[in-house]
Amino acid sequence: MSETQSIQIGQRETTFLGKLRVTLARRTEGRGVVLLALILGVVSFTQPLVFTAYPVSLGRIALIGLVALGLTAVILMGELDLSVASTLAVSGVVMALIPDVRLGIIVALGAGLVIGVINAFFVAVVGINSFIATLGMLFALRGLAYILSDEAPVRLTNTDAGIAFGMPLLGPITPRVLIFILAFFALQIFVTRVKAGREFFAVGGNRQAAYDAGIPVKRRIFTGFIISGFVASLAGVINTLERTAADPRAGLTVLLASFAAAIIGGNYLKGGRGSIVGTLIGATALGVLQVALTLSGIQVPVQNIFIGVILLLAVTTDPANLRAVLGSIRSLRQGRAKAQS
C-alpha cells in the first residue's frame, strides 16, 4: 500500500480572527460591501425616502439585478454577453405578438434559451471571442426586434393582465421582486453547491487547467450562456407584462447597468473570481444610488458621473490592482535610486 502525503502550503489559521481573515481574503465582495455601506450612509442623510419607499427601491434593484445575475454566470467564466439587452427586447416583442399570454411567455423564454445556445455555439464551437460574437448578436437581435414589432411598440392583447402583474403580491413584494429573489437563490445554489456551477470558476480561472482536469469546458460555456439568455428573456417578459407593451428599443440602459452591478460586486471580468452575492450587493448599491439620484432630481449627466466614479472606485481598489500599482511605484523608486547612486 502506498502512503499518501499531504503538503500544507502556508500556516493553517486556527484562531477565530485568523479564520475570519482568511475567509475575508477569499471573498471578492469586500469592496462592494464597503461601497454599499457608504452609499447607504450618504443616502440615509440626503434622501431617507429611499428607505421609507423601500418597495420602489426593491423594484429598481430587481430591474438592474435580474439581468446582472444572468450575466454573472458568463463573467465567472471570463466571457462577456453583450447581447442581453437585445435579448430582453426581442423576447418582449415575441411575447407581446402572441395573443395568448401564457403561450407568449413560454415562447419568449424559449427564445432566450435559443439565443443563449447560439451565443455559446459561436464562442465554444466556432471559437469566436465572446465580445465579438455577442456584439454581433446585439445588433442582429435588435434588428430582429424592430422587424418583428414593425418598428413600433407592441401592446399586450390583455393589458389588464399586465397591470395586475405589476401589483404587489405580499407587502412590497411584486412578482418582479419575487422572481429576482428566486433567481438569486437558484443561481447562488448552482454556483456554490452544484458541481457544474462550481466548475465555472475553474473554467474562468485557468481554462487549460480546467481542460486538463477533465472539466467539460464547452458544456460549461453553453450552460453559462443559456443561463444568461434565459434570465435576460425573463427580464424582457417581466418588463413587457409590467409596461403592458413591448418596446423594440427596450433595455438601452440595462446593459451597462448590469455590467456595472457585476463589477461593483467584485466580479473579475477575466473570470475565475466573483460571486452571485457580489452581484446582488452591486445591484443594491447601484439601485439605491439611482433611486436617491432620481429623488434628488439630479440630471442624467451628473448621475453618470456618480456611477462612473463608483465603478472606477470598485475597479481600482481591487487588491490585485492595488498590489500591481504599489509594485510599479516600488520598482520605479528602486530604479531611480540606482540611477542616482
Binding site: 457608504l38 452609499i39 450612509g41 450618504v42 442623510f45 440626503t46 425616502l49 419607499a53 418597495p55 420602489v56 423594484g59 429598481r60 430591474l63 424592430y146 414589432s149 418598428e151 413600433a152 411598440p153 407592441v154 401592446r155 393589458t159 399586465g162 397591470i163 405589476g166 418588463n239 409590467e242 409596461r243 403592458t244 407593451a245 418596446d247 423594440p248 428599443r249 427596450a250 433595455g251 438601452l252 440602459t253 440595462v254 433611486v291 432620481t294 429623488l295 434628488s296 432630481g297 439630479i298 440630471q299 442624467v300 449627466p301 451628473v302 458621473i305 456618480f306 466614479v309 463608483i310
Partner: protein, 347 residues
C-alpha cells in the same frame, strides 16, 4: 463618497440657483400665457408651495431639452412649485421606474412627457390610485389613456407633419416629384405622429408627390446624413427631387448628404419641422424651403401652468374641461417670414 456628498450638495445648490436666476419669457398673445399670469397672481396671493415631479425623456443632453428646462423652472418658481426633474433618455422601462419613485414621494402633481406612449398606462394607473394629478407635456398619451390625465400642453405633432406637407404641396405646385423621408426615433410617439401627419397629408393633398423611401434619422444630423445618402443610392438620385425630415437637425444631415454628392440643395424641394437655430438660417439661405416653428419655452412654461391648474382644481381629470388641451401655435416658416421676430429660433 465624501466627494459624492459634496457633489450632491453642489448639484442641489446649482439647481436652486438655476430656479432662482432663470428668467421669464411670457408670450402675451397666448391665451394660455395670459391664464398663467392670472394663476401666478393667485399663487402669489396664497403663498402656497407645491411639490411636482417632471418625468421627462430628455434634458440638458439634447438641444430642445436644454431650452425647455429654464423657462419651465422659471415658471415653476413663479407659481411656487418645487420641481424635481428626471430624464429617462427615451427608455420606457427607466421612465416607468422613475414614475414609481415619483409616486412613492407623494408629490402634489406629476408632469409627464412620455418616452414611449404605449408603455405609460401603468404609470398613469399608479398615480391615479395615489390621487396624484398628471399633466402631459410635449407628446400626448394614447387616446384611450387620456382620461387618466388632467390635460395636455404641447405640440400637435400630427398637425406639424401635416403643415410641413402643406408647404411641400405648395412649392411643388402640381409637378410629379419623388421625395425621401427622414423620420425620428422609431417607436417614439412624436416621430410616428409627425411621419403620419406628413405622409397622409401628402397622399390627400398632393398625390403627385411620391414618397420613394423613408428611414429613421433618430433626431441626429450624422445618422440622418447616412440615412439620406443610403436612400439616395437605393432609389437613384435621378428619381429624387425632394426631401422631408421630421426635424431641422435631421434635415441638416439630409442637406449635407446632397452637398456631399456635389448637388445644390436649392434645386430640391425640402421641408422640415422645428424653426430652430439650424433650420431658420437654412431657410434664409434658400437651402430649406420651409419649416414649422416650435417654441421650447412655450412648451416648458405651459407644462407647469397645466399642472398648476390641475393641482388648484381649475381642471379636473379627463379632457372635458376648457383649457385641458393647450396646443402650441406652430406657424410655417418660409423665406417670406424666416427673419421675423415671431419665429425667431429658441433652440
Amino acid at each position: 463618497m465624501r466627494k459624492s456628498r459634496i457633489g450632491l450638495t453642489s448639484a442641489a445648490l446649482v439647481a436652486v440657483a438655476g430656479l432662482t436666476l432663470a428668467g421669464c419669457a411670457a408670450a402675451d398673445e397666448e391665451v394660455a400665457a395670459t391664464d398663467a399670469a392670472d394663476t401666478t397672481e393667485e399663487a402669489a396671493a396664497t403663498g402656497e408651495t407645491y411639490e411636482v415631479y417632471a418625468l421627462l425623456p430628455q434634458g440638458n443632453d439634447q438641444a430642445y431639452g436644454t431650452t425647455y428646462l429654464p423657462p419651465m423652472e422659471a415658471m415653476a418658481a413663479e407659481l411656487g412649485i418645487n420641481l424635481t426633474i428626471t430624464n429617462s433618455e427615451y427608455d420606457g422601462d427607466k421612465q416607468a421606474s422613475e414614475c414609481e419613485v415619483a409616486v412613492a414621494a407623494m408629490p402634489d402633481g406629476i408632469i409627464l412627457w412620455p418616452a414611449i406612449a404605449d408603455t405609460i398606462r401603468p404609470c398613469l394607473e399608479l398615480a391615479n390610485a395615489a390621487g396624484i394629478p398628471i399633466w402631459v407635456t410635449n407628446a400626448d398619451v394614447n387616446p384611450e389613456d387620456a382620461d387618466l390625465t388632467y390635460g395636455y400642453s404641447g405640440t400637435d405633432s400630427y398637425g406639424q407633419g401635416a403643415a410641413s406637407a402643406e408647404i411641400m404641396c405648395e412649392i411643388v405646385d402640381g409637378a410629379d416629384v419623388g421625395i425621401i423621408q427622414i423620420n425620428g426615433v422609431t417607436g417614439n410617439s412624436v416621430a410616428t405622429l409627425r411621419g403620419n401627419g406628413f405622409s397622409e397629408t401628402i397622399a390627400a393633398n398632393c398625390p403627385n408627390v411620391t414618397i420613394l423611401a423613408e428611414q429613421p434619422g433618430d433626431w441626429v444630423p450624422d445618422k440622418s446624413q447616412i440615412a439620406a445618402s443610403e436612400m439616395l443610392t437605393a432609389v437613384g438620385i435621378e428619381n429624387v427631387q425632394g426631401m422631408y425630415a421630421a426635424d431641422d437637425s435631421m434635415i441638416k444631415g439630409g442637406i449635407d448628404a446632397l452637398k456631399a454628392r456635389g448637388l445644390d440643395p436649392a434645386d430640391f424641394f425640402i421641408t422640415s419641422i422645428g424653426g430652430t437655430f439650424l433650420g431658420n438660417p437654412l431657410v434664409v439661405s434658400g437651402e430649406l424651403d420651409g419649416t414649422i416653428f416650435q417654441s421650447s419655452s412655450w412648451d416648458g412654461e405651459n407644462a407647469v401652468v397645466g399642472i398648476f391648474r390641475a393641482m388648484t382644481g381649475e381642471t379636473s381629470q379627463g379632457r372635458d374641461d376648457e383649457g385641458s388641451v393647450l396646443y402650441m401655435p406652430n406657424p410655417k416658416v418660409t423665406a417670406a417670414n424666416a427673419s421675423d421676430p415671431e419665429v425667431a429660433p429658441e433652440w
